[in-house]
């Protein structure tokens, strides 16, 4: 149950707030969606008292690396957000400049604050095994497009992401670094070769060389090619040099990016992530990531203290994405973004992304989240429910929600079907995806919706409702190019020709 409480006091909890140097039992006073005070004070008349004795209280957790949008995203990202103790998160590369408009339309309604770690390539991350090999798409985006977007949507952008992997050379990293400098945003780089790749020249060391103070490198403890340790297990000098320069290291657990062996060796030499992030996506929420809380438990087991773990999802995370004006601390005047949690004792198995598991004696369990003072009781299992992550095209039936589309939306779909018939595409294989075609199909979508004077959101929802039972969101060009053309056109025609349900 959710409820908006105007004025309340969290009483008797152990407050952890490194930004204020608080690590003790204290009350947290909230009114009007803001933190009023931490400590003893007379309770305001009419304020509700919530007993949290025996629990910990921290600023709302900030996950700087999730995949909420696109081919890796969730039907309802809040289920891995406020319902799992997380009050703000950043989509790490889901949208690029070509789809940031779509990203904003669809995710503005979330309870959890969602920001973009925009990807250097225009379509954003493609997901699965698809690697965008054609560097031309990088050059086909005028820099003015980025600058104009950043001017109008400064708040949405938290970093610019690129992937330091593959055989493309360091040019993409340098280009991304340049763009990040122009936009005055941190650079955020993925390290670790992806799945089956085996490039001749590893880009991970190059990432550590290019990064400057405040830039971030994620997947610190991954176990693929391009690790932070050498064959003897020693932390690389290039990593040490970057750390000395003020480069920030992010955990980014993910489905492929955390190895107990690497973590233990690096941790023993004092190499510790500055921020703890989950890299949650539809392909790792069941296992091994599960939740940010599970990743925090892994770090606790690795040897970080509880305050160190909590600081890395609050104050340090907010600083890394330059968001201390609204997150990361329980300072008076801050939005009342709060996570109440406990640390359970017992025997818990925590798996890495490979075959290793560790038996942990402690587990961090979020219980209540407050977002701007609004309460959400944590439910860890909803995020793992199949309906939240199993992105399945409704091949054999038209989704029910298609019956609720308006006449205008149907007219648009009919025109889109006609337009898509004027080109041709072939369904992608496991390794190849025709990115230029995806961009072309997206352009057609925009031209048709524009000529039908249909708001972007309505046009997107019309297409999604034609193919998806759940409310997944995806780059429209990617969605279309992944469908078989005759099926896609046939379905759009079928939906557009049906009469809407009577109001």
């Amino acid at each position: 149950m959710n409820s908006a409480i105007d004025s309340f006091v969290l009483k008797g909890g152990h407050v952890l707030d490194a930004e204020q140097g608080i690590d003790k039992v204290a009350d947290v006073h909230v009114a009007g969606g803001k933190i009023q005070h931490v400590g003893s004070r007379e309770v305001a008349p009419g304020a509700t008292i919530i007993d949290v004795s025996g629990r910990y209280v921290s600023a709302g957790w900030v996950d700087i690396h999730v995949h909420a949008y696109g081919t890796l995203g969730f039907a309802n990202p809040d289920l891995v957000g406020v319902y799992q103790g997380v009050t703000s998160f950043v989509d790490a590369g889901g949208p690029g400049i070509g789809v940031l408009d779509q990203f904003m339309e669809l995710l503005g309604h979330l309870e959890t604050s969602l920001y973009a770690g925009a990807f250097i390539r225009p379509m954003g991350l493609l997901g699965l095994n698809f690697i965008e090999g054609n560097v031309r798409t990088l050059g086909e985006v005028p820099i003015t497009r980025w600058i104009d977007f950043a001017k109008q949507n400064r708040d949405m952008l938290r970093y610019i992401k690129c992937n330091a992997m593959g055989d493309y050379g360091p040019g993409t990293l340098k280009l991304t670094k340049g763009l990040a400098e122009i936009l005055d945003l941190p650079l955020y780089m993925h390290i670790g070769e992806f799945q089956m790749q085996n490039p001749e020249h590893l880009l991970a060391p190059e990432a550590f060389r290019i990064a400057e103070a405040g830039d971030m490198i994620t997947h610190l403890y991954h176990g693929n090619l391009g690790q932070v340790i050498d064959d003897d297990g020693k932390v690389l000098q290039v990593v040490r040099d970057a750390e000395r320069r003020g480069v920030l290291f992010d955990l980014g657990f993910g489905g492929y990016n955390f190895s107990w062996t690497v973590a233990e060796k690096a941790f023993a030499q004092g190499l510790i992530p500055h921020t703890i992030s989950s890299d949650l996506q539809q392909f790792n929420v069941v296992r091994p990531v599960k939740s940010l809380a599970n990743v925090m438990s892994a770090m606790l087991h690795l040897g970080l203290t509880l305050p160190q773990v909590v600081e890395r999802v609050t104050g340090k995370a907010a600083k890394a994405i330059r968001m201390t004006d609204r997150a990361g601390s329980l300072k008076p005047g801050q939005p009342a973004d709060i996570t109440v949690f406990r640390v359970n004792s017992g025997e818990y198995e925590i798996s890495d992304c490979y075959t290793q598991t560790r038996k942990a004696e402690k587990e961090i369990e979020p219980l209540i989240t407050f977002k701007n003072g609004k309460r959400f009781d944590v439910n860890m299992s909803m995020g793992q429910d199949e309906s939240n992550w199993f992105l399945q095209i409704a091949e054999e039936h038209v989704p029910d929600r298609a019956a609720r589309l308006s006449e205008r939306q149907r007219g648009f779909l009919s025109a889109l079907a006609g337009r898509l018939s004027s080109t041709s595409w072939e369904t992608s294989s496991a390794e190849r995806l025709d990115i230029e075609k995806a961009l072309e199909l997206q352009e057609m979508f925009h031209e048709e919706r524009s000529s039908h004077d249909l708001p972007l959101k309505d046009a997107l929802n019309a297409v999604y409702a034609s193919f998806l039972d759940q409310s997944f969101t995806m780059q429209i060009g990617l969605l279309l190019v992944r469908l078989e053309q005759p099926f896609a056109i046939g379905r759009l025609r079928e939906v557009s020709s049906k009469r809407p349900l009577a109001a």
Binding site: L128, N129, F130, I131, G133, N134, V135, G166, D167, Y168, Q195, M196, Q197, N198, P199, G255, Q282, F283, N284, V286, R287, W389, F390, L391, Q392, I393, T427, S428, S429, A430, E431, R432, L433, R482
Partner: protein, 127 residues
């Protein structure tokens, strides 16, 4: 490895070729005993390792490794009323009817028809 155009090298041609074959004759399955009760189970068909699932409607075979990261399909589970099989590693899910990836377009597994006759198992490629 990457091709010169920057794309990844192909490793799924065998699947594409398989889909163009005509109906195969039934072949005896080896390695699976008639009194086997534990499924999924290993078997082999003409020397090729496959994994046999027991569904609500009968038996079905699937190639032994997930095409994503080569995890064993012995740990895969049946889902969607026994019409799909899901690799536990990254929840890549495939239709047992035609082997197509459901949440992973472009990915495909070989699927096999399997029947039991007088205590012996037979199989043939279904896609």
């Amino acid at each position: 490895m990457l091709n010169t155009d920057g794309s990844l090298a192909q490793n799924g041609q065998n699947v594409a070729e398989a889909s163009q074959m005509t109906e195969q004759p039934w072949q005896p399955l080896s390695g699976l005993r008639a009194d086997n009760t534990k499924y999924p189970a290993r078997a082999s068909l003409e020397g090729e390792g496959i994994v046999i699932f027991k569904t609500k409607t009968g038996y079905r075979g699937v190639q032994r490794q997930c095409p994503h990261m080569q995890a064993t399909m012995l740990n895969a589970e049946l889902t969607a009323n026994d019409t799909m099989v899901r690799c536990p590693l990254h929840v890549f899910t495939f239709k047992l009817s035609d082997g197509k990836g459901v949440n992973c377009p472009g990915f495909k597994v070989k699927v096999y028809e399997v029947k039991e006759e007088e205590g012996k198992f037979f199989g043939r490629l279904a896609n």
